[in-house]
């Protein structure tokens, strides 16, 4: 009993620590107290039930019910009967709360600091994980498996790229080890394969999971993935922190450990905006390549900007001190607005690509005087794209799919009713940022066509380079000159106004050249880490874009997301791509099914063992111990004869337990129809008593030997 309590406490601690992994996403104050109440109620009821029934799953079920009742009392007291018991209106209140929570998660950036809905979701997740872990670790005597539900809790911050406290991780792992240590058993007892009951249990588990999944899947699919994933990443090798310009769209993004690269003071990150080191204009269809960098001019004492600043409204200068601690390249980091530099070295400015080159080492400090342009939607709407530009800025790679991409771009723009260049760019940006269409992912699917952009439009998974490149190519098909800027996100403000940027802030974004104002940044990469789009290019304010997003958001996301690209694929004979996608989908489903059956059969075997079908195996287990005592346990000896021999070596209590066990074995083997059988709990208790007794005797013997 006491061991069970310790095990339960360990499972509880493990679950709560694992839940704390979410603390960077949702502030603990929001959910911890209420979750504690619900999980505590579940644990209490499960433990009480466990002392009453030997069943493995029933107490956990009871615990789940208790946890749900507690959550109804904590989250919906107004709907609950006597402010505790759930009523039908509790369920409808919960059903209302969940979409609210998803909406909140989509509309805000972590960590979330408030919200009943989000807290309710977290509580439910933690409750289910706890009940599963409790059932596996305590009910099923399968403590190692209890790591699985914990993994689902850890998967959330891992998938979202949110930082996790090493202390919490270590403590949770320690609790997990404690659970295993307490609940692990001598597995030798279960060497033989159990028969029918295992198969039955396997089928039962598999069937219930399948039924549950088929019921839940349609519900879940209606709910879009709550948070657009945008992990921290870098575009650079591990040894140096150079930004490498071999920007291949086919490569997976390799993320290294975050290293602080530079910091700056004097302005808020939102004001500074992303800082670029390079810009590139030439795209081959799968890679960005550096072209001619143009002529360099001296940079001292001038406002550095690639185009004329006549007639451009400039704000008041903002002085920024940049402190580069670790940057293995010769390009200085520049904000995307007109600026002048003060650098303790010779600096050359490359106007064509808007880059500043300094002959400096890894460490340098320099000052930037920023002159932000006043850009707003109203003004930009009036502007036309720059004419008479370098043709490379309008070049669309001839991959055979450029017409398809152009068609899609025109369709997007037409759907949005966008007429001005600015509205067209907004439509493209919104199209790419739509979470029901595109998913941020650092791993890139294998090429299907020579055109990486077309592949991305079909696969709909990629990171900032794919998003930015796609917007650039589409803009170029519409006659808008655009290029790619490569650099870093502005970082986050730390203590004392110092903003530290690390390698994971590396980023790439499109720039479009407008007549008069020059290069303007857009932000097609969705998600939390890319930050909000520029103020002049907001996500949802443009009335035209609402038309595009309105249609898909009412339908199923899967259907909506496949609509646009496949409608254009149909007339280009792209059916093979669809087929192969179907095939890989089936393969994944098959593998998932096999994995499910495997897990279910493992659990089923474990449950079957617990259902006492293996009295014989328990007896064999006892025999192995008796053998160590020096008792002859050859197959020709009857249980009774063995027990009679062993009784001489054991305490009366142990001998009595052994006698009971022998009677149970005899009844099971030689009186199969006997109805009055010993219960599993009794048998288990006798087995433990005998094993412990034999161990004690063996210990005494070895002590005696040492004593002599």
């Amino acid at each position: 009993m006491s061991r069970r309590l310790v095990a339960l406490a360990a499972v509880l601690v493990m679950t709560l620590l694992s839940a704390l992994a979410l603390q960077a996403l949702v502030v603990p104050v929001v959910w911890v107290p209420r979750t504690l109440v619900c999980v505590g109620a579940a644990g209490l009821v499960a433990t009480l039930l466990r002392s009453r029934t030997p069943s493995a799953g029933l107490p956990s079920l009871g615990g789940l019910v208790a946890g749900l009742v507690a959550s109804s009392a904590v989250y919906f007291p107004d709907q609950a009967l006597l402010r505790v018991l759930p009523t039908p209106s509790t369920i409808s209140a919960a059903a209302d709360l969940i979409p609210e929570a998803f909406a909140q998660m989509r509309s805000s950036y972590p960590p979330l600091t408030q919200g009943d809905g989000v807290a309710f979701l977290v509580t439910m997740g933690v409750l289910v994980a706890f009940v599963l872990a409790e059932m596996l670790a305590i009910g099923a005597w399968a403590p190692a498996w209890s790591g699985l539900p914990m993994l689902t809790l850890w998967a959330v911050p891992i998938l979202l790229g949110s930082p996790v406290s090493v202390g919490v991780l270590t403590a949770a792992a320690a609790a997990y080890v404690v659970v295993i240590a307490i609940q692990a058993r001598d597995d030798a007892r279960y060497r033989r394969r159990p028969g029918q009951p295992a198969v039955r249990a396997t089928i039962l588990v598999t069937a219930s999971v399948l039924v549950g999944a088929s019921v839940l899947a349609p519900l879940l699919l209606r709910v879009p993935v709550p948070i657009r994933v945008h992990p921290f990443y870098e575009l650079v090798g591990s040894s140096t922190t150079r930004l490498d310009l071999g920007l291949g769209l086919r490569d997976d993004l390799v993320r290294n450990t975050p290293t602080d690269l530079f910091s700056y003071t004097g302005a808020e990150p939102a004001v500074v905006g992303p800082l670029h080191a390079y810009t590139v204009a030439e795209f081959t269809g799968s890679d960005w390549v550096r072209g001619d960098t143009g002529d360099a001019v001296a940079a001292e004492g001038q406002v550095l900007w690639p185009s004329s600043l006549e007639g451009v409204d400039l704000g008041t200068p903002i002085d920024i001190d940049v402190d580069v601690t670790n940057l293995g390249q010769d390009r200085l980091l520049l904000p995307g607005e007109p600026r002048s530099l003060e650098v303790p070295a010779e600096v050359a400015y490359l106007a064509a690509s808007d880059e500043a080159v300094a002959r400096i080492g890894g460490e340098v400090s320099y000052a930037i005087s920023l002159l932000p342009r006043t850009l707003d939607g109203a003004a930009l709407t009036q502007l036309q794209p720059a004419t008479d530009v370098d043709p490379v800025l309008l070049q669309v790679p001839e991959t055979g799919y450029q017409a398809d991409i152009a068609d899609l771009a025109r369709e997007i723009v037409a759907d949005a009713g966008a007429e001005t260049p600015y509205a067209q760019l907004l439509a493209l940006q919104n199209y790419l940022r739509d979470p029901s269409r595109f998913t941020y992912s650092t791993s890139i699917a294998a090429p299907e066509t020579p055109d990486a952009v077309w592949d991305f439009l079909n696969d709909r998974h990629g990171y900032c380079v794919q998003f930015a490149t796609t917007m650039i190519v589409m803009a170029r098909t519409l006659g808008l000159p655009a290029r790619l800027a490569v650099g870093f996100l502005p970082g986050e403000a730390g203590a004392e106004g110092t903003v530290v940027v690390d390698a994971h802030d590396a980023h790439a974004w499109p720039q479009v050249l407008f007549e008069g104002v020059g290069w303007v940044r857009f932000e097609p990469t969705p998600g939390v880490q890319a930050g909000p789009p520029p103020e002049y290019a907001p996500e949802t304010t443009a009335p035209a874009t609402e038309q595009t997003t309105a249609a898909p958001s009412t339908a199923l996301p899967t259907a909506a997301s496949s609509a646009a690209p496949t409608s254009t694929t149909a007339d280009t004979g792209g059916s093979t791509e669809g087929e192969s996608a179907d095939r890989s989908g089936w393969l994944v489903a098959l593998l998932a099914l096999l994995g499910l059956v495997w897990v279910a059969s493992a659990l089923g075997r474990r449950f079957a063992r617990l259902q006492g079908t293996d009295l014989r195996e328990r007896w064999e287990h006892v025999l192995r111990y008796l053998e160590r005592l020096g008792i002859e346990v050859s197959p020709s000896r009857t249980p009774r004869a063995i027990a009679a021999d062993a009784a001489e070596h054991l305490t009366p209590q142990t001998a009595a337990a052994l006698a009971h066990l022998v009677e149970a074995v005899e009844t099971a083997s030689y009186r199969p129809s006997e109805t009055s059988r010993a219960s599993d709990a009794e048998i288990e208790a006798w087995v433990e008593e005998v094993v412990d007794g034999v161990r004690a005797t063996l210990r005494e013997r070895s002590d005696d030997r040492v004593g002599v």
Binding site: R616, W619, S634, E663, E666, T667, S669, Y670, E674
Partner: protein, 316 residues
């Protein structure tokens, strides 16, 4: 764990009483007493191989007294005739009819003392009665009383002028045991008491109860596993190198029957391999004919059986 029906519990108690009653009469030989009681309950017959004066008659008388039965005692001699056992039909002049005079066989317990001294003809007559539970004289069948049990004795020392029972005849005895000399303390007690005291034995169950108990023994459960174990043991005697003639199928039947009554004596309503092991030597030892070389090597049937027990796995 073997709580059976109330009836079986009662049967177990009665069987225990019988066993205790016999133990009081023949002190110090619990195993012999147990086998005797078990053979009686299994409706078998017992062969005692003993020197004179160890309490054979006492045991038989105690058994008879315990079940309110009668004792018939026949001292077998070479000139004993079958009719001396069965009884004769005599013409009654007064009534003008033949009247049957029952012989000593008409008793609950029949002691056939030194059975190997009678002629084979008389022996086979006795064995036939044991099998049939009836006596046929002058074409008329006379059923023997129920319960009916023959306890035959053989003197293993004085073999001259005897007619040892052939194997086929021995097969009809369910079990053979030796009482042997009593342990020292029991013998001292015996000396102090001035003799065995069968007269003190009071009935512990009526004949009707005894028959009921026998009927209950037939209901004792024998699992397939145990039956297979019996079969394995019996067949092993036929394949053993030292055995010329192994156990017959009847031996297997009697092994199961005796194991059943032993289970009842242990208060169980189902047979364990332990029961089979317990009765294996009494049931099979006298039926095995060992090879000449085994006999000259001094091997006893009991040793062969112990070896077979060691090599036959118990069903689990």
């Amino acid at each position: 764990m073997t709580q059976g029906t109330p009836t079986s519990t009662g049967s177990a108690t009665l069987a225990q009483l019988l066993q205790e009653s016999l133990s009081r009469a023949l002190r110090g030989r619990k195993d012999v007493v147990r086998t005797t009681a078990a053979v009686f309950l299994a409706r078998g017959h017992l062969l005692l191989e003993d020197v004179p004066g160890v309490g054979k008659t006492t045991l038989a008388r105690a058994l008879a007294a315990s079940v309110e039965g009668t004792v018939g005692r026949v001292q077998f001699t070479p000139d004993l005739l079958p009719s001396d056992l069965t009884g004769v039909t005599i013409y009654r002049q007064e009534s003008g009819s033949f009247q049957f005079h029952p012989g000593p066989l008409f008793a609950t317990i029949v002691i056939a003392d030194e059975i190997n001294r009678a002629s084979p003809k008389t022996q086979s007559a006795l064995l036939e009665c044991m099998q049939e539970h009836q006596v046929t004289v002058d074409g008329t069948s006379h059923p023997l009383p129920e319960p009916f049990m023959v306890i035959a004795t053989q003197n293993p020392i004085e073999m001259e002028g005897t007619y040892p029972l052939p194997e086929a005849q021995r097969d009809r005895f369910m079990a053979q045991v030796s009482i042997g000399y009593p342990p020292a303390d029991s013998e001292l007690e015996l000396l102090a008491a001035g003799g065995w005291a069968p007269a003190q034995t009071t009935p512990v169950l009526s004949q009707a109860e005894a028959l009921e108990l026998m009927a209950h023994v037939d209901l004792v459960f024998v699992s397939d596993a145990v039956r297979r174990y019996v079969l394995g043991l019996v067949r092993a005697t036929r394949e053993h190198d030292a055995v010329e003639l192994g156990a017959s199928p009847r031996a297997g039947l009697q092994l199961v029957a005796l194991a059943r009554s032993t289970a009842v004596l242990s208060g169980r309503d189902f047979v364990l391999p332990d029961d089979v092991q317990e009765v294996l030597v009494p049931v099979l030892a006298h039926r095995l004919a060992l090879t000449r070389s085994a006999r000259s090597g001094g091997t006893a049937p009991a040793e062969v059986l112990a070896e077979i027990l060691r090599s036959t796995p118990v069903p689990r």
